[in-house]
Amino acid sequence: MTGFFGALAEAWDELRVHKLRVLLALIGVAVAVCAITTITAAGDMLRQVSAESNERWGGRPATLNVSAWPTGQEMPGVEEYVAAYDDITARYEVEHSSMVMWAQTPFRFPGGTMETQTNAVSADWATMHRFVVDGGRWFTEADAENLSPALVVNHAFLEALGQRIADHPTIVIGGENPVLATIVGTYPDSWPGEGPAAYMLVESHLRWASPTSLVNSGAPSLELWVPTDTADVLTEAVRRDLTGAIPGTQVEVSRMDSPDMGMIDGATKWLILGVSTIALLLGGLGLVNIALVTVRYRIREIGIRRSFGASSGRVFFSVLMESVVATIVAGVVGVSLAIVILHNVPLDTLMGSTVQDRPGFPASAAVTGMVAAVSVGALAGLIPALVAVRVKVIDAIRY
């Protein structure tokens, strides 16, 4: 045990004395470890950005889309759909679900009435699709009880209305049953130049939409956010149950989210691993170079240490440990640097999106970085350690 601590003390002493060498080793390996950690974190962020972007459209894993298309000329009544969907949701105890209807709603803007694309959804829909408002709020269950329908609209909608969300704007929905709707929240346009668009609670839509409008909306669909491991079983069960529940329809149940994300995830991982390995190898090469030069410079010292009783094994281990200790220091510096970078650079914004669930600091990446740094240190120390052991003591003392 004393021998181990002795070798550590010796290695630390060497590094303290050869500060320049440590610094050079630090630059190479610390940058590599920092790169590994940062790239891994960036990869995590990229995966998260990609996942959240996909989830905005397709829902979180696993989101099932349930549709029942009429097979004849007549569409079953909306109330049939509502009853069947409620039954399915209750039977399988689905915690988050949303009916979805699409409609063209006649909003009376100051410039005149405009048929505006409106999505009628449940309050849970925002959670299922990671939907966020940038002003005001999303719907609550209580909004369904209000006589004035609540709306969440895009920026283009507000611009057309000529008001701000802070002004608590309202707008009249025209048609056969005109009603004053309240805008409770706003969200960014999905693309530049997008026209006005709005979200409304499906309950409000069913209450205020004219029968013609409801027919034009088509068959409502149902989205279910279910555990990934039960998704396949539920897909079959829901299809079977619903086929009998709404006669005269063809039921389709499918995954909306992207189950193939795992493959993309794997590819990203390998890419990151490859880049990091190259970075680390470059850092390691610099370390080998410096260590070799230093050992040649220290031949006499190695001879003197042999006269102190250092066995060849001890000399080997000490020289090896110098590299390892140096890379541990470099690894700690690299990981610290990566932490500072990750806390100060908004990677998600740079990637063009803001994530809801910001990935935490990748501790596993830091551990991987440290293990890789130590391994590179050991490999880099191996060659100089072998050179040191081959030094002839007598020649070394006379050196």
């Binding site: 601590f5 002795g6 066995s311 007598i394 003392i397």
Partner: protein, 298 residues
């Protein structure tokens, strides 16, 4: 049982042209605990090789080397290294201090290879040893800031810090002036005696050699006992020393061959040594009379 025993030890090396160079031939030597032995000889006669063998840094080509009665050939490299660290202290001509380390760190360095308390208390032990050699106020001084004499005192402290049973001194005063060399040898003698350590000094400085109880001459790889007697005591300047050749095994019936030291001084000066011993020397003898006449290894 003697501490060190060499019986018929030879050391040879193969040269690049495949010739065999005999450096040491049939060396017989015994050294007891606490004994002071000196070995004189010209440069290149194999003195350092002999010292390296004695210090377990090198192994004989043939013959037997017993340490505490145990043939060292039976010891593994690891055990030899451990015994070297624990039982031997080295003092080199060029001090061989570790650069960029303070005096304290230099003296503590051998304790990195010690076990138990010696390892954990290395800084304290090193400071105490530096105190003993009179450098208690230079603990944090770098070697390049120390004088030659101070550097050698640090080297002596370093060689003694693990309490070795044998101190091997290779030209310990070779890089020092006469007075400083004398002071350093006084210190080495004193501390070695206090520690009960055997002292084997290799030198071509007769003043250094004369301090030993037994003296040997190494010439052409052959070790032979000699007697060195002081004609006058006192300072090194006034020392008149003769070297008497003693046939093997007849230490006490020495064949006296008077050798004036003035010739040693001039020859030593020519080889870079400062081992001059002043005006007591007489004319008529050459260095070859003293050290043998051929160089067998370089």
């Amino acid at each position: 049982m003697s501490l060190l025993e060499l019986h018929g030890v030879t050391r040879s090396v193969r040269l690049p042209d495949d010739r065999i160079l005999q450096i040491l031939r049939g060396i017989d030597l015994t050294v007891d605990a606490g004994e002071h032995v000196s070995i004189v000889g010209r440069s290149g006669t194999g003195k350092s090789t002999l010292l390296n063998i004695l210090g377990l840094l090198d192994t004989p080509t043939a013959g037997e080397f017993l340490l505490d009665g145990v043939p060292i050939g039976r010891l593994s490299g690891r055990v030899r290294a451990r015994r070297r660290g624990a039982d031997f202290g080295f003092v080199f001509q060029q001090f061989n201090l570790l650069q960029a380390r303070t005096a304290l760190e230099n003296v503590a360095a051998p304790l990195l290879y010690a076990q138990g308390k010696q390892f954990w208390n290395r800084k304290r032990l090193a400071a105490e040893m530096l105190e003993r050699v009179g450098l208690g106020d230079r603990l944090d001084t770098m070697p390049e800031k120390l004088s030659g004499g101070e550097q050698q005192r640090v080297a002596i402290a370093r060689s003694l810090v693990r309490g070795p049973r044998v101190i091997l001194a290779d030209e310990p005063t070779g890089a020092l002036d006469v007075d400083t060399g004398g002071e350093v040898m006084d210190l080495l003698d004193t501390i070695a005696q206090e520690n009960g350590s055997a002292l084997i000094a290799i030198t071509h400085d007769l003043a250094v050699a004369s301090r030993a109880k037994r003296h040997f001459r190494l010439a052409e790889g052959v070790l032979a006992p000699i007697a060195i007697g002081a004609r006058s005591a006192g300072s090194l300047d006034g020392l008149g020393t003769t070297m008497e050749h003693v046939p093997d095994g007849e230490d006490h019936q020495a064949e006296h061959v008077a050798v004036p030291l003035g010739t040693v001084a001039s020859a030593a000066a020519a080889t870079g040594s400062t081992g001059a011993h002043g005006p007591g020397a007489g004319p008529g003898s050459t260095l070859d009379d003293l050290f043998g006449d051929s160089v067998v290894a370089s």
